[in-house]
Amino acid sequence: MFKSFTVAIVLLACLSSSANATQYKIMIATWRGCEEACQGFQDYLVEHGVDTQFIMRDAQKKSAPLPSFLAEAREKKVDLILTWGTSVTRGIAGTLADLNNQELNHDIPNVFMIVADPVGAGIVKSLDHTGRPNLTGTYNRVPEETIIETIRSYLPDFKRLGLLYNTDEKNSVLKRDEVADLTGPMSFELVALELPLDTNGKPHVDDIATKISELKEAEVDFIYLGSSSFLRDNKDAFTVAAVNNGIPVLSPYENLVHESQALISVAARYYDVGRLAGQQAEKILIGKIAPGDLPVLRMTDFAVVINMGVAKKLKLFPPMDLLQMAETVN
């Protein structure tokens, strides 16, 4: 009796250890390297004891390699793909219009993050119901109304908003349209300038300063970055040109305030966004919940960050009430 009991215990222990030993393969597909969100994602899973092998793939700001990432993921039988940004997500998971396209991912569980407008980009049906059995993600943007109200809180006389966008990024165009829709209800003018594309269909960094000067001539009160990986990557060219023209920049990316010369941001930390995506992955891998049954998880921690050094340069100091809730950097 005692012997059979001991054998049973040993068997259970073996089974349990083999269950614990399950290692998940996750491919992380990024647009421009593994930054804070990508790091936050990995940290979350490690901290929560999810034994994971991360396969890192970087598109280096090009769409061409994305199909090969998916092919590799299928070949290596990864358990989940994490896609960073609108371009990578569209390149791997496609849109609702691509559901019959077998060259895109409709089989491997897929979590997206840092997608400015997943509904507008056609990636998901809605934030509550993705309409995609293998896809869910995170949403980390504040409503555009909040952006306009923040500008208005900073500059009560605000009338004209400047915006640069590049048509090679779907999210950039979508954000322009979204802001344009608010001009009537929120009583402001929008001066949206398109960055010209070169022969490769890409915008050029040298055009940023020119376009900022055009916004200056159009007498905009504030420039909003909108959504653009190109402008984010060229943050110094963008924000320095704006400051040199005496125009403040509001960025939806916090690092442009910390690391460059954007005056203010209303955003979530990318690291926290990555952790949120980690929660989604944990639910799929450990909780065995189908991605399509998970709503897109919204960020719950936002902050207004003000660069006081830039405020001093622009001689545009924040009002006290905004300063009371804002985080400041110099």
Binding site: T146, A268, E327
Partner: protein, 257 residues
């Protein structure tokens, strides 16, 4: 002399009663003022705490999504180490940010009731062992989106009230003792002569009565030499008149007498 001490005791007793009433009323008044002061101080703190949340609400950020809310509340809490907790709650009373870990789910029912009757104005109430002070958080368009609630212990206030009561009681005892001594001297000065006269009259009446009893018993009357001779004389005259009148009115009197 007994009369003097009785008057003095009466004066001292009246003093004691008046001072006790004074201490009671003064302590009650202090309690009310103290409660108002604590409430006003907490209202100012609640207003200051609500300011950054007002700013967040005005730009359209939900109260639960303000990233540095914890730091903002903790900074406010540290302005007074006695503060038990500061909560940010939504219009339904659900706590969305708090210094408590873990935070309670919602604000007390009494707080919700007080908020309902206060309108948009800041309010404070005492509930059991705690003070509750609150102010609304207002978004753009003067829309109320929630409030800040400060929970503060009443114990420090009760201690202050008791300390004030004890201080007043001590002062009362000192005043009472001083008043007793003072009244002793004042009574002596003001009615000393009258008391002395009253005592001599009392003494004379007593002696007279004693003499009368001795005389009735056939013993020699006392020889009284005092300032009340005149009174003695009058008493003796009155007594004699009384006896004469008594005999005349007696129906069994001896006519020959």
């Amino acid at each position: 002399m007994a009369l003097f001490w009785r008057i003095w005791l009466a004066v001292t007793f009246v003093n004691l009663v008046v001072l006790t009433i004074f201490v009671g009323l003064a302590t009650l008044q202090f309690g009310n003022i103290n409660s108002d002061l604590v409430g006003e101080r907490l209202a100012v703190l609640a207003e200051r705490t609500a300011a950054p949340f007002n700013a967040a609400a005005k730009i359209g950020l939900p109260l639960s999504t303000v990233r540095n809310a914890e730091a903002l509340l903790e900074r406010a809490r540290q302005t007074d180490t006695a503060i038990l907790a500061i909560h940010v709650f939504d219009n339904a009373g659900r706590i969305v940010q708090s210094t408590d870990k873990p935070p309670p789910t919602e604000i007390p029912a009494k707080a919700l009731a007080a908020r309902a009757v206060s309108g948009d104005a800041p309010w404070h109430i005492e509930s059991g062992e705690i003070f509750l002070s609150s102010i609304d958080i207002i978004a753009r368009g003067k829309i109320t989106v929630g409030g800040v609630l400060i929970v503060y212990p009443r114990s420090s206030s009760v201690t202050q009230i008791r300390a004030m009561g004890a201080e007043l009681a001590l002062a009362t005892i000192v005043i009472l003792l001083f008043g007793a001594v003072l009244s002793l001297f004042l009574l002596r000065l003001s009615i000393g002569k009258q008391i002395k006269l009253y005592d001599s009259i009392d003494h004379a009446v007593t002696n007279f009565e004693r003499g009368e009893w001795r005389s009735a018993a056939g013993r020699p009357s006392l020889c009284i030499e005092s300032e009340t001779d005149e009174l003695n004389h009058l008493l003796e005259t009155a007594e004699k008149s009384y006896q004469v009148a008594g005999r005349e009115l007696d129906p069994n009197k001896d006519e020959s007498l």
